[in-house]
Symmetry: C2
Subunit: 213 residues, 2 copies
């Protein structure tokens, strides 16, 4: 096997990536200021996940979002994702170390049945089912505007919402409704988002909480 020359240590690759991201921000946006180390950690990890520096300007944080999300994770809560992809991307080992967990009800038989019976999306039925669970809740949406709209219809007082559905129909409107809801929220303005972005935001919080221990 002919060996090629490339960095092979995952931690070294990640560390170097964040240095490069910092340099690019410094060079291209010298006046850009992060509001806090946690704000910086979230934005840089989303850029790490997307290689898209538009994320410097897209993410909206409600004033209490980072505090509320971190406290809920540390006190033990359930995260609910709208896709198995977002669930798959979240560091579940680390989440469990804080006494929290993540669930995705999109393929739950009760959700499939209810969506069919009521003529609603499975994403909406999954929100309804999750809200029946006991305990503190964080909702993590990277895909389905209908899930986010449904959550807002319930006017439930949840611990936090990561609202970054991507798309062209309803996505932007759902995120603006989240921003205006007053819920503790991290939301993407405009069309961009995705399950990868949703997972990256949660992972950034988890890694920052681990470092702070």
């Amino acid at each position: 096997m002919e060996k090629m020359d490339y960095l092979q240590q995952p931690q070294a690759i990640e560390a170097k990536s964040f240095v490069i991201i910092g340099e690019i921000i410094h060079d291209t946006r010298p006046d850009y200021r992060f509001a806090s180390p946690l704000h910086e950690a979230v934005i840089k990890r989303v850029i790490h996940t997307t290689a898209d520096f538009e994320w410097l300007d897209i993410l909206h944080f409600s004033p209490d979002a980072l505090d509320r999300l971190c406290t809920a994770i540390q006190c033990g809560c359930s995260l609910y994702t709208d896709t198995t992809m977002a669930l798959s991307g979240i560091n579940k080992t680390l989440l469990a170390q804080f006494g929290s967990e993540v669930r995705c009800y999109i393929s739950d038989p009760r959700v499939v049945r209810r969506a069919k019976a009521d003529g609603i999306t499975r994403s909406m039925a999954a929100v309804d089912l999750a809200l029946g669970d006991a305990g503190e809740k964080i909702f993590v949406f990277g895909n389905a505007p209908t899930a986010l709209f449904r959550l807002l219809e319930h006017k439930a007082q949840v611990s936090g919402v990561v609202g970054v559905p991507v798309g062209f129909v309803g996505a932007e409107e759902s995120k603006e409704a989240l921003v205006e809801s007053g819920l503790p929220a991290i939301a993407a303005r405009g069309r961009k988002g995705g399950s990868n972005v949703a997972a990256a935001i949660i992972n950034a919080l988890l890694y920052s909480l681990r470092e702070a221990q």
Copy 2:
């Protein structure tokens, strides 16, 4: 529950999304031409997944890539992803209808053991393990440049590669090496990519094959 006004039919949402994407391309890039309906399906689905129109210019298709990938899927092959996120995003029901399947070896105990023993990434060890399987293979990488470099080191004649690792260290270089390898490949130029993009490319092929049936 106070009802909000939004489209709730998944098929209608998707159809409307693709119409909007087509309109935006028409308005902003009137001279842009797709090489074929399949080429168009892939690019538009990646834009649908990312809301990022840079994908009009980023994706490289080797001359035989679309034919080889579609034939392999239709004849029954194994897809290997570098992340559970990419695996999670691929339509496995539809894939199975064509007699194909998708696997991710990243957490296989043999991979974890081998990576530790040899001081390589688990992504590399997963490629080594996959190449020992019988049958036609497609590799689908959205995250790990080391996986793509490793595959190229083996000089294996696989049925196709979707090479779209995202990132700042090795990602671009690994994709350029793929482009130059002569393998049937869809590759992203530059830093962008991701597990969501990798899954979207495979799903675009699957939906096009289903429509053609």
